[in-house]
């Protein structure tokens, strides 16, 4: 059992970080399907910079790249008033194309070995720390209350003297930092950057956030659940033990199917923030 615990935590960590990134954005009413792209941008930038300047600057660069995209999302949705979904899609396109371009242009193909990085356990600890901090932050700090207020009813929040645009800026800055960490975690774990290496993790994190009813702790648990699924899949693939005969594709589809069922309202009441996508 213990040989499943660590892989589960490692697989769940980028999901948790990304889900928390989604939390600070969506709780404030900003739909964010750009998590995938932000993670990807961070992973690519971190990989490129780490090789030359070491792990610390790599981490900073990764977080910076994700934050930049997150700010673009804020600008597009709050100032240009572009539909949140469209902005998110274009951020994913920018990141997918941009990382392909940058990595194709600036990486050294002759280089071998893992890129310099921080230890994976640091990120694992960080993921749980962030979850706890956001839970407490939402419950006990004025900013947390304001974030939830803006996400629930921006018009009333505005009447109460809260500026939704500013609150969402802070929320999206957090989103940028957290997706940045998630992206750096991915390259730290695998030691290389590969094209489209996030492979849908941003969407799975979003699924976890939805399954958790847009709450920190349940969302974190959902990520752990998805982590267990992947760990079990990797461990028992092709063996006869514990559902090894079930096709891997079915295992991989499970998080998505569960989320669709949850969105259909079959798993308890829906807890969607009512101000999601509104100005």
């Amino acid at each position: 059992m213990l040989n499943l615990l660590w892989p589960t935590l490692v697989l769940a960590t980028p999901l948790i970080l990304a889900a928390m990134a989604g939390y600070t954005s969506e709780r404030g009413g900003v739909i964010n399907i750009g998590l995938e792209g932000m993670m990807l941008a961070s992973a690519c930038t971190a990989a490129l910079v780490s090789v030359v300047h070491g792990a610390a600057l790599g981490l900073l660069a990764g977080v910076g790249a994700a934050t930049l995209l997150s700010l673009l999302h804020w600008l597009a949705t709050q100032h240009y008033r572009i539909d949140h979904v469209i902005s998110g899609m274009s951020i994913n396109a920018l990141a997918a194309g941009g990382t392909n371009f940058l990595y194709g242009k600036f990486s050294n193909p002759d280089r071998t070995g893992s890129i310099p990085h921080f230890g994976v356990p640091i990120f694992v600890g960080l993921a749980f720390g962030v979850t706890a901090a956001l839970w407490a932050g939402t419950k006990y700090t004025a900013f947390g209350w304001r974030l939830v207020a803006v996400g629930s009813d921006p018009a009333k929040a505005r009447l109460a003297g809260i500026n939704p645009v500013v609150i969402r800026l802070i929320g999206l800055l957090m989103t940028g930092v957290l997706t940045g960490l998630a992206g750096v975690m991915l390259v730290s774990d695998s030691g290389v950057f590969t094209d489209n290496m996030t492979s849908g993790r941003g969407y799975i994190a979003l699924a976890a956030l939805i399954l958790g009813g847009w709450r920190c702790v349940p969302a974190c648990l959902a990520c752990l659940g998805f982590g267990v699924l992947s760990a079990v899949r990797l461990q028992f693939q092709g063996t006869s033990a514990l559902g090894g005969h079930i096709p891997t594709e079915a295992w991989a589809s499970l998080p998505y199917v569960v989320t669709v069922v949850a969105l259909a309202g079959f798993l308890g009441r829906t807890r969607t923030p009512t101000g999601l996508g509104r100005l």
Partner: protein, 331 residues
């Protein structure tokens, strides 16, 4: 045009010029390569038209949903399901009958794949964007599982299905290699005009757009808005599935894992750029077809293909800044 929009466009052009400059090629040279590789010779043009055809169909699928106020991000998945079912039918029943069957089956498959999100949106108020994104991944896994099992070529260890017999392929309209234009292109053009006519001249088309503009007002006008939303999603999925089946019988001649290079996502850009006129899908699809074909030309030139995806993202942003703005207090 406001200064906000102006600065957005200037910023976008700046990003592109910077990227081209970073790759050590002069922008003029890059543009020249792009032009020569897409519209510079008869064979290049025929390649561009080949890329345009699926974009036209999938763009139409996104466009239809958009008119009903829905973001069908699931076109990618519906396209894959349509292609899978289409190829299965075309392999099983050779000849013209098989082609017809494949196209109908593909459209049906796409509609089925869109039915869940449509129903959830219409009757359970679950956001169609999330459900369709999730089902895209499921479609990807499902098709790659099926193609490596039930419908794979028995002679092969893995991956693709058998190649279709010549009789099961859609004939060429122009066949003078290297120039080849499939009948799929006029079919796509006619479909576009047909959809434009339907939206403009029929009651049901009007009702669909009324729901898209304001579902509450449409309900007061006596339109069954949830039903309309459900059927708009079905229709959008059917077009996407049809596009997948067309892609099999007209161009690829087989189905394999990773069949779509992202037509469903490009289609979103096509439909957003087209705005609110169905005819406008045609030039928009052509532009994206040029980009898709041009990416390959640029790659040979030493500029990674990703730059065209960056361009796509910027186009979507600018088109949305012009057309898909929200008003304070609106839904």
């Amino acid at each position: 045009m406001s200064w906000k929009l102006g600065s957005l466009i200037v910023g976008a052009i700046g990003v592109l010029v910077l990227a081209i400059w970073a790759s050590g090629v002069s922008p003029a040279e890059a543009l020249g390569t792009l032009f020569r590789g897409t519209l510079g010779s008869p064979s290049a043009i025929s390649g561009t038209l080949r890329e345009t055809t699926p974009l036209l169909f999938t763009g139409l699928a996104v466009f239809l949903a958009l008119r009903a106020g829905l973001f069908n991000i699931g076109v990618e998945g519906q396209f894959l399901i349509g292609a899978m079912i289409g190829s299965a039918f075309a392999i099983r029943f050779p000849g013209p009958f098989g082609i017809t069957f494949a196209l109908i089956g593909g459209a049906f498959g796409g509609a089925v794949w869109a039915a869940g999100p449509g129903w959830i949106k219409a009757y359970r108020h679950g956001h169609e964007v999330i459900t369709t994104i999730m089902l895209n991944s499921v479609a990807l896994y499902l098709t790659s599982y099926v193609v490596s099992g039930v419908i794979k070529d028995p002679a092969q260890q893995s991956a693709p299905t058998v190649n279709l017999a010549e009789a099961s392929r859609l004939p060429w309209l122009v066949n003078a290699p290297p120039v080849q234009v499939s009948w799929a292109l006029p079919l796509a053009l006619v479909s576009t005009l047909g959809l434009a006519w339907w939206l403009k001249k029929t009651i049901s088309g009007y009702e669909l757009q009324a729901v898209g503009a304001n579902p509450i007002a449409a309900s007061y006008a006596g339109i069954d808005a949830p039903r309309m939303i459900f059927f708009a999603m079905l229709g959008s999925g059917a077009i996407a599935g049809f596009a997948g089946a067309i892609q099999v019988v007209a161009f690829e001649g087989r189905f394999y894992s990773g069949f779509s290079p992202g037509y469903g996502f490009d289609a979103l850009g096509v439909a957003l750029l087209a705005g609110n006129q169905a005819q406008a899908v045609i030039p928009a699809a052509l532009l994206f077809g040029v980009l898709a074909k041009g990416g390959t030309a640029l790659q040979i030139f030493g500029i990674p293909k990703g730059i065209t995806t960056v361009f796509l993202g910027l186009i979507i942003l600018i088109a949305a800044a012009i057309r898909y703005r929200k008003v304070i207090g609106g839904a």
